[in-house]
C-alpha cells in the first residue's frame, strides 16, 4: 500500500491537520499541500535581505534549504530517478542483468510485450479487478458512511460499529489473503453456510475454478479496501453544513431528493479523489493476488504486477519484465496526471 497521493496547493494551510485535533472534524482540510502556500512570505523575506548586499551570507542562506533537503535529495535521486532511468534503459536492451553483454534492441521489446497474449489478458484482468474494486469500494463505503452518519442511534453504538467497520483496513494483504483462503476453502465455513441454507448444492471451488477465481479475488479486495472510502466519506458527510439540508426541507424536498441534490454533489470532489487514488493503488496490487491464487488457475487471475514479477523472477526475462514494468509506470502516471489536473482545477 502506498502513501496517499497528494493534492496541490491548498488555500487554507492553517487548517491542515485539523482532523488530527478533532476526529473527523466538521471541515476536514487536506493535509497534502503545503509546499506552495508559504512561498509568498518566503519571497518577501528574501527580498528585504537581498538589499543588504552581503554576498557571502546571502549565498549561505541560499544553501541552507538544500542542507536540510540533502538526505531527501540523495534518497530520491538514488531510489527513484536512477531506478526509473535504469528500468527504461533495461527495456531497450536484451539479456540485461543475467548477461554481462546486453544487446541494444530499441523499442522491439515494447512491440513484443504489447503483442503478448498473456500480457493482454493480464491487462484485461487488471482493468476488471481495478474497475470493480473501485466501484464497489465506493458503493459499500458510501452505504456504510451513510449508515454511520445516522441520528437514529446513539453515539456509543455508532462508535463501536465504526470500529468494526474499519477492521479490514487494519490487516495487511498477506494476512487478508490467508484469512480468506481459510474461509473460502472448499471445506471451509462459507461453503458450509451456503450448503446449510440450501443456496448451493455442491461445494464451490472459489479460488481454484477458472470461472470464479477472478471474481473471488476481486471480492476479497473489495472487502479489504472499502474502509478507506468509508472513513473519508464519513468525514465529508459531517462537513456538509446543516443549513443546506434545512433550506432543502423548507423547499419541500424529501429524503431522496436531499440525498440526490445536496449530499451527492457535496461529496463529489471527495469521491473523484478517492476513486482516482484507489485506481492507482489497486492497479498495482500484487500481494493479495500472489498470496491467494498466484495469478492462476491458468492465468485466470494474472495481473500486470504478477505477470511482470514472474517474467523477472521465475523466467529471468529481465528485459521483457522491465518493458512491462515501464508500461505499468506509464499507465499509473497517466491516471496520476488526471488526478493532479483535477486537483488543480478544483483549487482554482
Amino acid at each position: 500500500m502506498h502513501a496517499r497521493a497528494p493534492e496541490t496547493a491548498g488555500q487554507r494551510p492553517r487548517q491542515a491537520f485539523s482532523n488530527v485535533q478533532g476526529l473527523l472534524s466538521p471541515a476536514p482540510q487536506p493535509v497534502f499541500q503545503a509546499c506552495f502556500p508559504s512561498e509568498k512570505t518566503a519571497l518577501s523575506t528574501n527580498h528585504s535581505q537581498a538589499t543588504t548586499f552581503q554576498k557571502l551570507p546571502a549565498l549561505r542562506k541560499k544553501l541552507v534549504p538544500f542542507a536540510y533537503l540533502s538526505p531527501t535529495l540523495l534518497l530520491l535521486a538514488m531510489l527513484s530517478l536512477l531506478p526509473i532511468a535504469m528500468v527504461f534503459f533495461y527495456s531497450l536492451q536484451d539479456n540485461v542483468i543475467m548477461n554481462k553483454t546486453p544487446q541494444w534492441v530499441g523499442f522491439e521489446n515494447y512491440s513484443k510485450i504489447l503483442g503478448d497474449s498473456v500480457f493482454q489478458q493480464a491487462l484485461l484482468n487488471t482493468l476488471y479487478f481495478t474497475g470493480m474494486s473501485v466501484l464497489f469500494h465506493l458503493l459499500l463505503g458510501l452505504a456504510f458512511a451513510l449508515l454511520l452518519n445516522t441520528r437514529l442511534i446513539g453515539p456509543l453504538p455508532k462508535a463501536l460499529f465504526r470500529m468494526v467497520y474499519i477492521l479490514p483496513w487494519v490487516f495487511t494483504a498477506t494476512i487478508i489473503a490467508i484469512l480468506w483462503r481459510l474461509l473460502l476453502n472448499p471445506n471451509g465455513v462459507l461453503n458450509y453456510l451456503l450448503l446449510w441454507t440450501g443456496l448451493v448444492s455442491d461445494k464451490i471451488e472459489w479460488l481454484s475454478s477458472r470461472q470464479l477465481a477472478l471474481h473471488t479475488v476481486t471480492f476479497i479486495n473489495i472487502w479489504a479496501g472499502y474502509p478507506f472510502y468509508m472513513v473519508s466519506l464519513l468525514a465529508g458527510l459531517q462537513g456538509i453544513p446543516d443549513e443546506l439540508y434545512e433550506a432543502g426541507r423548507i423547499d419541500g424536498a424529501n429524503g431522496r431528493q436531499l440525498f440526490r441534490f445536496i449530499t451527492l454533489p457535496q461529496l463529489t470532489p471527495i469521491i473523484v479523489s478517492l476513486a482516482m487514488l484507489d485506481f492507482i493503488w489497486t492497479m498495482q496490487q500484487f500481494t493479495l493476488i500472489w498470496m491467494t491464487t498466484g495469478g492462476g488457475p491458468i492465468r485466470a487471475t494474472e495481473m500486470l504486477s504478477t505477470f511482470t514479477y514472474k517474467l523477472a523472477f521465475s523466467s529471468y526475462e529481465f528485459s521483457l519484465a522491465s518493458t512491462s514494468a515501464f508500461v505499468i509506470l506509464l499507465l499509473s502516471m497517466g491516471v496520476a496526471w488526471f488526478y493532479v489536473r483535477k486537483q488543480r482545477a478544483s483549487d482554482e
Binding site: H2, A3, P6, R12, P13, R14, F17, N19, V20, L23, L24, P28, P30, V31, F32, A34, P37, E39, T41, K62, V64, P65, L69, P71, L75, M78, L79, P83, M86, F144, L147, L148, L152, Y165, L167, P168, F171, T172, A173, T174, I175, L179, L182, Y192, F228, V231, S232, A235, G239, I270, S273, I280, F286, S305, Y309, F313, A325, F326, I328, S332
Partner: protein
Amino acid sequence: MNSRFSKSTQTHLARLGVLLALLLGALFAGFPVLWMVASSFKSNTEIFAYPPRLIAESFSAGAYLAVFTNAEKVRFFLNSYLVSGMVTLLTLLVGILGGYSFSRYTFFFKKPLNMLIIGVQAVPPITLLIPYFSLIVGLKLHNSYLALILTYMVFTLSYAIIMMTGYFNTLPRELDEAVMIDGGSSFVALWSVLVPISLPGIVSVGIYTFMLAWNEFLFALTLTKTTDMRTVPVGIQLLMGQHSYEWNEMMAMSVLGSLPVLLLFLFFQRYFIAGMTAGSVKG
C-alpha cells in the same frame, strides 16, 4: 390513525431498519476477523471440522505457544519490528528536515522537486523492483536490513515530507524568529520549538509510516533471501508454501502479525484516521 403515533412508529421502524443494516454490515466486516481469531485457538484437525464451530472443544493457546517457541518464527517478528522501527525513525528524521525546508525557505527547483515528491507516490512498486534488485545486489546489500530500510523509505518519505510541510505551514513564523533573535540557528528553532508543537502531526506520520513498513511484502520477498532475514508477511507466505498446512499456527501468526497495527489503531484512533484520510478529503 393518530398522526403523532404513526410518526413515532415510523421512527421506530426506521431505527430498527438502520440497526439491522448496521448489524449485517458488522457481520460482513467482522466475521472474517472473528473467524481468524477463533481458528487460532483450535487444533489443526478441527479447523475444517464438520459442522464448523466458532469455539472448538480443544480450545487452547497451543498454536501461539508453538509460534513463540519456534526461534525461526520469533525471528520474523524481530526482523519486522527492527525494520519498521528503523524506517519510522529515519523517515521522521529526514521528513522533518525536508518539511522544514519546504515550509520555511524558497529555493531553486522548489516546484519541480515538489512535483517529484508528489509523483513518487504514484510510481508502482513493481516498476522499481527490477532496478532495486540490481542496485541492491550491486551494492552488496542483498539479504540485509539496510536493503529493506532504504527501499521502504522512498515511499514513506514522500508522505512524511508532504505532511510535515503542511503541518509546519500552520505554525507562525514568529516562533522560529523568536528563537533566532535570541541568537539560535534555524536548526535550533526547528528542534526546540517547532518539533515539540508538531507532535500530533509527527505521531500521525509515524503511525502511517510504521504501518506501511510493517505490511510491505514485495520488496521483502525479493530483496531478502535467507529465512533468518524474512519479515512477518513473507514468513507467513513461507509457512503456506509447505506441504501440510498448519492452519492454526498460520492464524496465530496472523493475529500476532496484526497486533502492532491493531494496537496502534485502538490507542491512536484519531491520528490513525487523520493519516488515512489526509490524501482524499477536501473540505
